[in-house]
Symmetry: C2
Subunit: 370 residues, 2 copies
């Protein structure tokens, strides 16, 4: 195994489990929008780029293995996986000029951090599914599967999550100290550099691990949040959203509800990269060819303002509750998201004035043959 | 997939989850005794019966796949799996006259019913483990893995659990109605016949599913509770134990704490088979050769009486709580196990007088080459 691999991520990295009103499974409409928007691209990608013969399939007794890296608790992962299987079957039919035989079996590995709520994921698996399901606990910044056993890797809306917050940005003695901000807002060169270096290191770790697992000719779809070239987080709606969350924390510190030191040492382990940046990393890594590099368009922000605010609050909570809880303690979680809801209501118009939207990268890679 | 396969078992089949004082993970000393007692036999079995060359291994880049069917939440499954891996590595070394290369990778599938507490299982995986771990949710009375992908199957202390209680034994109109008993005590021919038929059907379903998953030459270890040939449950200590549990329920019905009808319709989905019976089923099934058929001896009942009673109560609760809860309602669980504890204290001497002990079958099978 690679020496650089990361053994485990903090518990707080996991989305909110279960299927209650505050769970990720009930509050992942945005991420579902991403799945829907990517559906056709995945289908097209498989049609154009998957070659059964080069994968060693000979139209008899074979297993096609798929893994979703960072699947959370569903239901988005199920939609994505079913779409992949459908496209793979269509391609099989086209390539061999016959229907997929019963002998073509699918095995799907659902991966997320060990503290992900796999119990809920397993209970909600469709009973009439066409594949054998397995859970794969552990960080994807490390090896998870045996060598050359995977034909299709998928990772949606995960790789903008870093393996850790770069330590310089929360170090008051470092020139990269990010006081007054909880994100890489792009306004301070040293902060951007630290975040970017962490992203590059994490992406390489991810690509190296997957390169060992994926067979030559195997495909990998990566969907991740990013920014248009040359645009900073502070210029994009999503950056303003995180800024509002940060300003809540500052307000709460002023009210004495949390300590200022705690606020100063809180940064999000998130990095929104440009396509140029990602392209460079993948090329330098050298294990994969870039077959498609594109971005998704979807309309989730374009509904009514009221439902938008609700989606923003509950969606944000499902994702960020764990981080807030770990850093500030469980007793302030409720208050923080109340503040945040109010702040969003009061300031929602700023999003109309946002100069830019973030983008969602859609990348299709093919594993080189060794 | 086989038409006979069972889609899902009731929630109540799962052991008590978590790692609290009443959890299976804290109350599976008996089952741990079984693992310890079988350790050497597993090692010897792998040494004598595993042949890497016939499995198609050629001492380069390969994955050895192991599955534990009915693993519950650990830690017993981890001990068992580590022992298997150690023995497989030793055999590799002996067969190829060299140390297992880094290229020999192990993938371990931990299987149990969908309602098993996989979250706890995953959190307690050893961080320095030598294998890639995956969870496999679903009943083992059905397919769980792709065709011909498994090299070593293991199932410890599970196959005495039937997929369901035979319906005749809780049907007041049937000659096999088992009124007055909660188990197949051996005293009524029709009851025994119904239980035995269910066991035969379930074993066949299990063997057929595994036969598809295991590669030719692959091994399967089955450890399961059973009885010596010609002995009834009512003559064995464990049967008396279940009888005491049953008599608690009868007492509670007399006190009006539960309904008599509920007691009459409660039977354990458990069948303790003889080795003759198992041998016949395996031979008739025809997919596996019997390489070893033996029984385990262990000393778990031979400690002090006090700790024995405690182990009996807490161990029984970790296993049977789900069944009691499902059938009688969660409000009577506490009371039932209080009654049971008292009953055990008052009657513990009957176990000294038990004419027979049950046995634990140890069976090593090899998958035929097609």
């Amino acid at each position: 195994m690679a020496t650089e691999e990361i053994k485990e991520l903090p518990k707080s990295w996991a989305m909110v489990g279960g299927d209650g009103p505050q769970s990720y499974s009930q509050n992942s409409a945005y991420q579902k929008g991403v799945v829907d928007a990517s559906k056709e691209k995945v289908t097209e990608g498989i049609k154009d780029k998957l070659d059964f013969k080069s994968l060693g399939f000979d139209s008899s007794n074979d297993t096609f293995r798929i893994a979703d890296f960072g699947c959370s608790v569903g239901p988005n992962t199920f939609f994505a996986v079913e779409n992949i299987i459908e496209a793979v079957e269509q391609k099989y039919q086209a390539q061999f000029q016959k229907s997929p035989p019963l002998e073509l079996e699918f095995q799907v590995f659902f991966n997320d951090v060990t503290t992900n709520d796999f119990n809920t994921l397993f209970k909600t698996l469709h009973s009439n599914r066409k594949y054998f399901a397995a859970g794969l606990p552990g960080t994807f910044y490390g090896r998870l599967l045996p060598k050359s056993t995977l034909h299709f890797a998928y990772s949606s809306y995960c790789l903008q999550w870093l393996s850790k917050v770069p330590k310089e940005v929360v170090d008051s003695k470092s020139p990269a100290w990010n006081k007054g901000s909880i994100q890489c807002d792009g306004l301070k060169k040293e902060v951007t550099k630290a975040y970017s270096a962490q992203f590059q290191s994490d992406m390489n770790t991810f690509l190296n691990a997957r390169a060992q697992e994926i067979v030559g000719g195997g495909l990998m779809v990566i969907i991740m949040a990013g920014l248009p070239d040359g645009i900073f987080m502070s210029q994009a709606g999503v950056g303003m959203y995180y800024e509002l969350l940060g300003s809540c924390l500052v307000d709460m510190a002023k009210l004495g509800e949390i300590s200022e030191e705690k606020v100063d040492s809180f940064n999000l382990p998130l990095y929104y990269s440009s396509s140029t940046e990602i392209e460079e990393i993948i090329k330098e890594n050298g294990n994969f060819s870039i077959e498609i590099m594109d971005s998704l368009s979807h309309q989730i922000w374009k509904t009514s303002k009221k439902s938008n605010i609700e989606v923003s609050v509950s969606g944000g909570r499902a994702v960020f509750q764990g981080l807030v809880e770990e850093h500030f303690g469980s007793e302030v979680v409720e208050k923080t998201f109340e503040h945040f809801a109010k702040k969003l209501v009061d300031n929602f118009s700023i999003f109309d004035g946002a100069a830019h939207e973030h983008i969602d990268h859609f990348i299709l890679l093919k594993r080189h043959f060794n």
